[in-house]
């Protein structure tokens, strides 16, 4: 589905991922593990199209388009006290679809509602984002990623900072999306135990960097 050829990524004059070759296949549940600062998030940002490759290529195959890929970044400090309703946040995922989108039609609202249902946050639609628990916040952001995604999800540490119950909940939602909705999952995680339990493939970044 995605082919990385001779990929080099980095910030400024520092290279973090060096001439890296990898393929992600359709239907994969790929977990990327590795210690802090080894380039997991950088690689994911490259896949998401936020960071341009310095050299090499990221090829989208099998008719995969950018707008079919959903991205769940790590939550930022600014977002924690952001005054916004859950619905506003989830709907914002559609802004990439056209340059001018001053109103959201019924179809888009319906789609947003479906995505909220998939992540078990339907009842929070009118809630205020900053008043949600950590687990609820992550599930809402996952719903937003789903709105943008039809075929592939890129998840950056989706369970970091969550209690065991919330992480379990998150994992089972992701599993459902993988199995029932046939989505390709790429997840950066520090939870090696869960990675070995759920993933169909594991990519260890520690070995690549060396």
């Amino acid at each position: 589905m995605i082919k990385c050829r001779n990929l080099t990524l980095g910030y400024g004059c520092k290279n973090i991922v060096n001439s890296f070759d990898y393929e992600i296949n359709s239907g994969d549940y790929l977990c990327i593990i590795g210690r802090n600062g080894c380039g997991k998030t950088t690689f994911l940002r490259g896949l998401a199209g936020i960071l341009r490759p310095k050299s090499g290529k990221i090829e989208l195959c099998d008719n995969l388009q950018r707008k079919q890929i959903g991205y769940l970044p790590q939550i930022t400090i600014a977002q924690k006290d952001f005054p916004a309703s859950v619905e506003e946040i989830v709907l914002s995922a559609f802004q990439g679809k056209s340059l001018l989108l001053p109103f959201y039609g019924r179809a888009l609202r319906e789609r947003a509602r479906e995505c909220l249902a998939l992540t078990r946050t339907e009842n929070l639609r009118k809630a205020c984002f900053r008043e949600l628990s950590g687990g609820q916040k992550q599930r809402v952001l996952l719903a937003r990623a789903l709105c943008a995604a039809e075929r592939m999800l890129l998840l950056d540490e989706p369970v970091t900072g969550l209690d065991p119950e919330s992480s379990q909940n998150m994992y089972s939602i992701i599993k459902e999306l993988h199995e029932q909705k046939k989505m390709t999952i790429v997840m950066v995680t520090h939870d090696v135990e869960a990675a070995t339990k759920y993933a169909t493939r594991i990519l260890d970044f520690n070995e690549i960097v060396k």
């Binding site: 890929i69 991205y71 970044p73 914002s92 802004q95 959201y104």
Partner: protein, 280 residues
């Protein structure tokens, strides 16, 4: 008192002041919500000092309309500050602090060395605190202000959802294909225009207040981005109108009266929120 007010409203310069005051406070509060949430609260202060520096240069060069120098300089600095982004060597708050203090110093220096006016201290004080300059607006200033405000308002309304998406999560917006750089550029230009306009109203030192107070007040009480934006706009316009009227009636400086009103509104919102959270 009401008669006195009607008496004052007969003068065109009072009406100009009210029109300009309303428009500027409306625009600055709308953008203020975004700036506060993007952690750029102090950019208003920084850019207004830059505008002050540009004003000093313009007055030394004896340009016919000093807007032709102030506006481009401020826009360029705003673009550099807001779009330099995360890869810049000196980032965010440090860059703003540096630019604002630097521009203020250079501006004052230039005014002192080259000034033709006999009363440098008075001139400086006027630009810094706005003093009565809002009451001495010419009709061309008013037309310029109205035109620019309409452009700012239209841009904001048209791109409201884009601005929300970028404010909430720039990375995600970029991943879904929003042209983040373009909109950041747009926001930077708009904010520079607003700040240059707002300097007339409250002066360079108090511009931050117009940007920050309404947004923060609204954020105490309201919980969605839409309601916060609307509330900030209403709070800002009401405070500015009240401030201008009080200033006219009581003869106090316009800028600081408006800011005092904003502080009062903030306290009311803060206490409302405090009482409400206690009750639940």
């Amino acid at each position: 008192m009401f008669d006195q007010l009607l008496f004052y409203l007969d003068f065109p310069f009072v009406r100009y002041a009210i029109i300009v005051g309303t428009l500027i406070s409306l625009c600055s509060s709308l953008l203020g919500v975004t700036l506060v949430l993007k952690r750029y609260s102090y950019i208003g202060g920084g850019l207004s000092h830059v505008a002050f520096g540009a004003l000093a240069i313009a007055s030394v060069l004896k340009v016919t309309n000093n807007m032709f120098i102030i506006l481009p300089v401020t826009i360029i600095v705003a673009v550099l500050l807001l779009c330099g982004g995360k890869d810049a060597r000196i980032k965010g708050d440090a860059a703003i602090a540096m630019v604002s203090a630097g521009a203020l110093a250079i501006g004052y220096l230039i005014m002192n060395i080259f000034s033709a006016s006999a009363n440098v201290a008075g001139d400086v004080c006027t630009t810094l605190f706005g003093s009565m300059s809002i009451l001495t607006l010419k009709s061309t200033d008013v037309y310029l202000c109205v035109a620019l405000s309409i452009v700012v308002l239209l841009t904001f309304v048209l791109f409201y959802h884009k601005i929300f998406a970028i404010t909430f999560d720039e990375n995600f917006a970029r991943a879904t294909g929003v042209n983040v750089n373009l909109f950041n550029l747009l926001i930077a230009i708009i904010i520079a225009v607003i700040i240059v306009l707002a300097m007339n109203l409250v002066g360079a030192l108090l511009v931050s207040a117009l940007v920050v107070f309404p947004a923060l007040s609204a954020m105490r009480v309201f919980k969605s981005f839409f309601s916060v934006t609307i509330a900030a706009a209403i709070i800002s316009v009401v405070c500015s109108l009240a401030g201008i009227l009080v200033a006219i009636l009581a003869g106090t400086p316009v800028g600081s009266t408006i800011v005092a009103m904003d502080i009062a509104a903030f306290l009311i919102c803060y206490i409302t929120n405090f009482i409400r959270s206690r009750r639940i």
